[in-house]
Amino acid sequence: MGNLSTVGHLTWLHLLQSVLPVVLGTLISIPIARFAAGRRARGAGGRRGAGRVRRGVVVNAAALLYTVPSLALFVLLPLILGTSITSLTNVIVALTLYVVAMMVRSCVDAFESVSPEVLDAGTAMGYRPLRAFFGIELPLSVPVMAAGLRVALVSNISMVSVGAVIGIQSLGTLFTDGLRRDLMAEIVVGILATVVLALVLDRLVTWSAAALTRWQVRA
């Protein structure tokens, strides 16, 4: 059985490769989604012609990006970035793109879930746009955004494992190595470690979101 420090190192690599892209991807998705979201703090007006087209283009482009197979992306990106396939940068960039593909849609939904009356009230009280965004719109988008974030995080964790097939170091390496050397124990450790990692991170997101949304009435 592989020694503990190897497992620890691989867990760290896995963690880095799954969390960093989620953070980066979400930060990138928020402005894109805000730009595309249909509803504005403009009261009765609602969604207009140009706005609808913009939303459609952005949401569909994100969906299209998501259909590119992850392995293909790992292999294709180096051609554009000039990095090596197994470099950390390559993995991070590829997975960040995936998170953007997933999160843009969630964030658009999240912004559209904010009640226009509340945004109107903000305007009526004398909020300026930037403060209204950070003080009202963003905090109120958290519940819907967090749901998307959980999905993105968990699917990211499994995608990091897939990278092991082309030699990217992560907990997935324990499966590929275990399979090659026919070591059942190594495979089991890899699976368990991955599951534990996914569960812990998922809980973490859920708890943070709950802490940020204490204002919601719970059933």
């Binding site: 009526a124 004398g126 905090p139």
Partner: protein, 361 residues
């Protein structure tokens, strides 16, 4: 009610045009300072649009709006908005902020410290009759009536002479609505702000407004005047039909019931008869407050009460709702003060009608 008030808000030739429709057309209106002006009219006639042009939530296409003589475009929009309170239909509270933080919104935007904002919020909770215990609750944990009070407190926190209210009480049940209306009248007397109040309920417009602007189709003013003027002399058929079926009854709201003959509880004198309401007998509690009527063995709940300074409408209702057909008048302490007869109320209504048209008795 001061009769000649200064103008707080003036619309001069204001038009709002959308691609699809004209929401408000060539509006000229002078809203008096220190009074409640209600905007009333059917749905889609431009009440909200007119109100929102005051604080520039909606920008006018043509014309100018003067606030205390100053063009409202002379200041940045956000400053203008912080300088007047705004209450909306569903309260529009920030769901992620506590009651106290919601109320302190405008002071905080203006740069007040957290502690100052909170202190001000607690004061305002007292002003609008909210229990301070609710300060740390979130809006989702409030009843509709409480949420509206928070909305009003938040608008008052702007500390401005002007308060804009867009159908603030239309989403709460009738009992709570009456409470909130009374509270608003009390607040107004206490704070003397200029209030512009949008409603599509003529009763609410009459109950609250010192002045009423009746909006007609296409955002034009069909009539502007005191409630009495509008009920007494509707400018046209549109206003007459909008003011509605109960116009005659509503008009009694403006006729004083002070002159009504008061029949003493012991009977005698005024009526000649010993107790003209016999066989009914008025019941009183220990504090001499009316407690219903007795007829033989049966005890029944009493009707509405006629309070000092009440209108003829109140007197008529007291008579009509009383099991004995005799209205019960009470004094300021709520003690039974005398009884009023239906014939006297009808006679007073007749006198009011004749004097209105200048026909002698």
């Amino acid at each position: 009610m001061p009769e000649t008030a200064a103008t707080a808000i003036e619309f001069a030739g204001v038009t709002k045009r959308y691609e699809s429709a004209v929401a408000v057309e060539d509006l000229d209106l002078a809203i008096p300072a220190g009074l409640i002006t209600t905007f009333v009219g059917p749905s889609g006639c431009g009440k909200t649009t007119s109100l929102r042009m005051i604080n520039r939530m909606v920008e006018a296409t043509e014309g100018t709006i003067l606030i205390q003589g100053e063009d409202n475009r002379d200041r940045p929009a956000h400053e203008l908005r912080r300088s007047m309170g705004y209450v909306m239909q569903q309260a529009g509270l920030m769901p992620h902020r506590t009651v106290a933080d919601n109320i302190a919104t405008v002071p905080r935007l203006k740069g007040a410290s957290r502690a100052d904002g909170r202190a001000r919020a607690l004061e305002l909770m007292d002003t609008v009759g909210l229990d301070r215990k609710l300060a740390k609750r979130y809006p989702a944990q409030l009843s509709g009536g409480q949420a509206q009070r928070v909305g009003v407190a938040r608008a008052l926190a702007a500390d401005s002479p002007i308060l804009l209210m867009d159908e603030p009480f239309s989403a709460v049940d009738p009992v709570v609505r009456t409470d909130l209306q009374n509270e608003l009248v009390r607040l107004h007397e206490q704070l003397e702000r200029t209030i512009v109040f949008v409603t599509h309920d003529i009763d609410e417009a009459v109950a609250l407004g010192h002045r009423i602007a009746v909006f007609g189709e296409g955002g034009r003013i069909a009539q502007f005047g005191t409630p009495e003027e509008i009920l007494r002399a509707p400018a046209d058929d549109f206003v007459a039909s909008f003011v509605g079926r109960d116009r005659g009854l509503r008009r009694l709201t403006f006729a004083s019931g002070q002159e009504l003959p008061m029949h003493p509880l012991e009977g005698g004198t005024a009526s000649g008869l010993e107790r003209p309401w016999a066989p009914w007998e008025l019941l009183l509690d220990d504090a001499a407050r009316p407690a219903g009527w007795r007829f033989g063995e049966r005890e029944v709940t009493g009707g509405t009460l006629f309070t000092p300074g009440g209108s003829l409408r109140e007197a008529l209702d007291a008579v009509l709702s009383s099991p004995s057909g005799w209205g019960v008048a009470v004094d300021d302490a709520g003690r039974a003060a005398g009884l009023i007869a239906s014939d006297d109320v009808m006679a007073a209504a007749g006198r009011e009608r004749r004097s209105r048209y200048g026909v002698g008795e």
